[in-house]
């Protein structure tokens, strides 16, 4: 009985479908290239996907309320730079520097949220503007130069592994667990879905809609800065160019993972699976030796196909209903 209920839940869940897609991708990858299942390749892949994965989880939170943040990459790189400057130039305790950088990321996210809610702006347009601001401050501070010499005590967070699992991925899982707890178990989580379903109805229910929106932007800022600082730890130097591809990839990961762009539907865990699918695609393209100039075009095309999985299954379902 219990087992049946579990099977039903699995069948109903969107997550199962994208899980199967991911497994299929992995199967194809391991058949077409003997190097794919190599432990070093897998470790590199997982280390890589941790970054887009955790930002995707944050982005999914925003998509759930029908908004998005295009400044995640610039917040990440600015926070990485700020952490690096404190550690290397000012001799601040590395851990304290990291902590302050995370806090600042949270503040940047909060600023995004306040601007968007108080001035009633569209999130996409506002964050396009804000990413210019964060990127600009970054350039003013660094003049485009990297900050090498990140202490080893910090580099461990980016380069190290716990057992065979790369440390950044551990952080990614922690982010996932915390976000899932919030979304599935708490009042705030229910309110997030309510806002995504209908902002008007949520307001009339007495939900403090704007407050929750600002909180989510702050969480996303925090996750972005975490990804930025971890990436700096991985490279061993702070660089301005970190996170350029993260805004778009995090949105794509969420959508592949079944999070609706219009809000109210989806699960942030899907974003992590979506990120994994994107990483496997990119990894496969490299392993198969696709011409360097073609790589971006091919991976873009495959991502579009991956995004359309959920809508294709929707189309098929509708057709089935009509025929029966």
């Amino acid at each position: 009985m219990n087992r049946n209920a579990l099977m039903n839940r699995l069948k109903k869940s969107n997550m199962t479908a994208i899980g199967i897609v991911l497994i299929a991708m992995i199967a194809i990858a391991s058949i077409t290239s003997p190097y794919f299942l190599d432990i070093y390749n897998l470790q590199a892949l997982i280390r890589d996907l941790a970054f887009v994965g955790m930002i995707g989880i944050g982005q999914a939170l925003l998509l759930l309320i029908g908004e998005l943040d295009l400044s995640v990459g610039k917040i990440a790189s600015l926070c990485g730079i700020l952490a690096g400057m404190m550690m290397v130039y000012q001799d601040v305790n590395p851990f304290l520097s990291m902590f302050i950088a995370l806090l600042l990321g949270c503040v940047f996210g909060c600023v995004n949220g306040l601007i968007i809610t108080k001035l009633r702006l569209n999130s996409m347009v506002a964050t396009i503007g804000m990413q210019g601001v964060y990127g600009g401050v970054n350039l003013v501070l660094t003049k485009g130069k990297a900050i090498p010499g990140i202490p080893d005590s910090i580099q461990v967070f980016g380069k190290g592994s716990v057992g065979i699992i790369p440390t950044p991925f551990i952080f990614c899982l922690i982010v996932l667990i915390l976000v899932l707890f919030m979304i599935k178990k708490t009042k705030t989580g229910r309110y997030i879905y309510a806002i995504g379903n209908s902002r008007e109805a949520a307001k009339i229910l007495g939900i403090k809609v704007d407050k929750i929106r600002v909180v989510i932007y702050s969480i996303v800022g925090l996750i972005s800065s975490l990804a930025g600082v971890l990436y700096v730890a991985r490279l061993g130097s702070s660089q301005s160019a970190i996170g350029e591809s993260w805004p778009m990839n995090s949105i794509a990961a969420s959508v592949i993972g079944g999070v609706s762009l219009t809000g109210g539907v989806g699960n942030p865990a899907g974003a992590l699976i979506g990120a994994a699918i994107i990483s496997v695609i990119q990894n496969m393209i490299v392993l198969l030796g696709v011409n360097v100039y073609w790589q971006s075009a091919v991976s873009g095309f495959v991502v579009v196909i991956a995004i359309s999985f959920s809508s294709i299954s929707e189309i098929l379902r509708e057709r089935k209903v009509k025929v029966s």
């Binding site: 229910r190 379903n197 009339i204 229910l205 403090k208 009509k322």
Partner: protein, 493 residues
């Protein structure tokens, strides 16, 4: 021979038979009314007539040919949907002729030409707007008439299918629409008229078919039946139409005192609401009733004036303050402002009482399920199970879920904004009884906004009439219907 005939059609959905071998003929030059409770199968029937669904069994004949096979035949059915679905940012003329392929406009679209073509149509339908005005700038009433006009632009239509066309019309415009429909009938078209309002059916119809639970239960010439007959057939039981719903427990304690309130669409409004009272607000669509209530609730801005709640100053402009202090607004726009469409019935109900379901940070799922089950039972919400997405429920059941949810946030003042819009007679009575019970037994002060005269008369202890944002007059429950009607249209007496 019938212009349109559905022959023993059956349409099934997982778990329900929406239409069960229904057989109806529609004749030319006849107004054929379809009536039934929410969930009786009216919408499914419409969708079969407009080609959205194909019935599993049976045939749809248009002029003797089977339209389930030859789909183009369904173009002869001009359909006017219940909800207004015009293009807000396009002109009246453009809205009339879109889609161009069907209205005979070819090649390059010339605005002036379109506007010239639109003028006689607007005149025919007595829509007093200019062809170049944007739809969003014209009144709701005009929009609804425009929607009917648009359906008839398609030249070779034979059947006009009207789904509750009067829900947003003022009394006066309803008359205009009925005259137009009578004209169209004279052109020997067949008219299918779907409505919950019995008085309209008797004023307009020639023939009536009653649906219940997906089956056709009766049909008759309108002249040969009365409203009791229809209600009995429709609900399967007889409903007492004379039943009154005023509260008999009005106390002297004033819950809500509004003084000289002015806002966007209303001016200088004062009134008070007593404990255990049902206070009716009547007026035309657009008279400012909803705007006034939403402003008191905190959803819309207030320019000046004062609100007193339980004898002390009430904070303005903060819905969450209002809700936490027991002032709750149940919106007219159920789909936009009431329900959370893709969430389950369970989550829709529990959303207002999460604080009482929490243990530490987390929601106790077991307690939630029990609480929701209780509400579903207490408010007689018909749903296959609590996990069903609420958008799949009928309007009446959505409304009951919203009321049940509001009741769990311990309300002291409830504002019902058109609580029975689009809801069938049987469920309406259920909602009236519920309101009376809340007022009498729980001492809740109830404000009822309604455009239906019968509803206002049956339920209200006092009646306030608004006209163009101003308070016209206040009546007690003995007020004369004619008096109220003339106040609604702005005539002092």
């Amino acid at each position: 021979m019938s212009v349109l005939r559905v022959q023993n059609i059956t349409k099934r959905f997982p778990g329900v038979v929406a239409l069960d071998s229904v057989d109806i003929s529609f004749e030319a030059g006849e107004i054929h009314c379809i009536i039934g409770e929410n969930g009786a199968g009216k919408s499914t029937l419409i969708k079969c007539l407009t080609g959205v669904y194909i019935p599993e069994e049976g045939e749809v004949h248009v002029g003797g040919e089977d339209a389930t096979k030859v789909k183009t035949l369904l173009k002869k059915v001009a359909y006017v949907p219940q909800e207004i679905d015009l293009f807000n940012n396009m002109s009246v003329a453009e809205n009339l002729f879109i889609p161009y392929e069907q209205s005979g406009v070819k090649g390059i679209i010339n605005q002036k030409e379109l506007e010239k073509k639109a003028a006689p149509l607007l005149e025919k339908f007595r829509i007093k707007v200019k062809p170049d005005e944007l739809v969003k700038d014209i009144s709701i009433s005009a929009q609804q008439l425009l929607q009917v006009a648009r359906a008839t632009v398609h030249e070779d239509y034979e059947i006009l299918l009207l789904d509750e066309p009067t829900t947003s019309l003022t009394t006066n415009d309803t008359k205009i629409l009925f005259n137009i429909i009578a004209d169209i009938k004279k052109e020997n078209k067949s008219i299918v008229f779907i409505s919950h309002k019995l008085e309209e059916i008797f004023a307009l119809g020639d023939f009536v078919t009653v649906l219940r639970n997906g089956k056709k239960v009766a049909d008759a010439k309108i002249k040969e039946v009365d409203s009791d007959w229809i209600i009995t057939k429709m609900t399967g039981r007889s409903v007492d139409q004379e039943e009154q719903f005023q509260s008999n427990q009005v106390s002297d304690e004033v819950l809500l005192k509004v003084e000289r309130l002015t806002g966007g669409r209303f001016k200088d409004i004062s009134f008070d609401l007593k404990k255990g009272e049902i206070l009716g607000f009547s007026g035309l669509v657009g008279a400012g009733r909803s705007e006034l209530m939403q402003a008191i609730f905190g959803h819309l801005p207030i320019y000046s004036g004062r609100i007193e709640y339980f004898g002390s100053q009430f904070k303005q402009g903060d819905p969450s303050y209002s809700v936490s202090h027991g002032l709750i607004y149940l919106p007219e726009e159920r789909k936009k402002q009431g329900i959370l469409p893709v969430l389950s019935v369970k989550h829709n109900i529990s959303i207002a009482m999460l604080d009482s379901l929490k243990k530490g940070l987390t929601i106790v799922k077991k307690r939630e399920a029990e609480m929701v089950k209780e509400v579903i039972k207490a408010y007689n919400i018909r749903t296959p199970d609590a996990e069903k997405e609420i958008r799949f429920l009928s309007g009446g059941n959505q409304q009951k879920a919203i009321i049940g949810r509001a009741m769990k946030s311990s309300p002291k003042v409830l504002i019902f904004d058109e609580p029975t819009k689009g809801i069938d007679v049987g469920t309406k009575t259920e909602i009236y009884r519920l309101m009376r019970k809340l007022a009498q037994e729980e001492g809740i002060g109830i404000i009822l906004i309604s455009s239906e005269m019968e509803e206002i008369k049956k339920c209200s202890n006092r009646i306030i009439v608004l006209y163009e944002g101003r308070k016209m007059i206040e009546y007690d429950e003995k007020a004369d219907k004619q008096q109220i009607l003339s106040a609604i249209i702005g005539a002092k007496c």
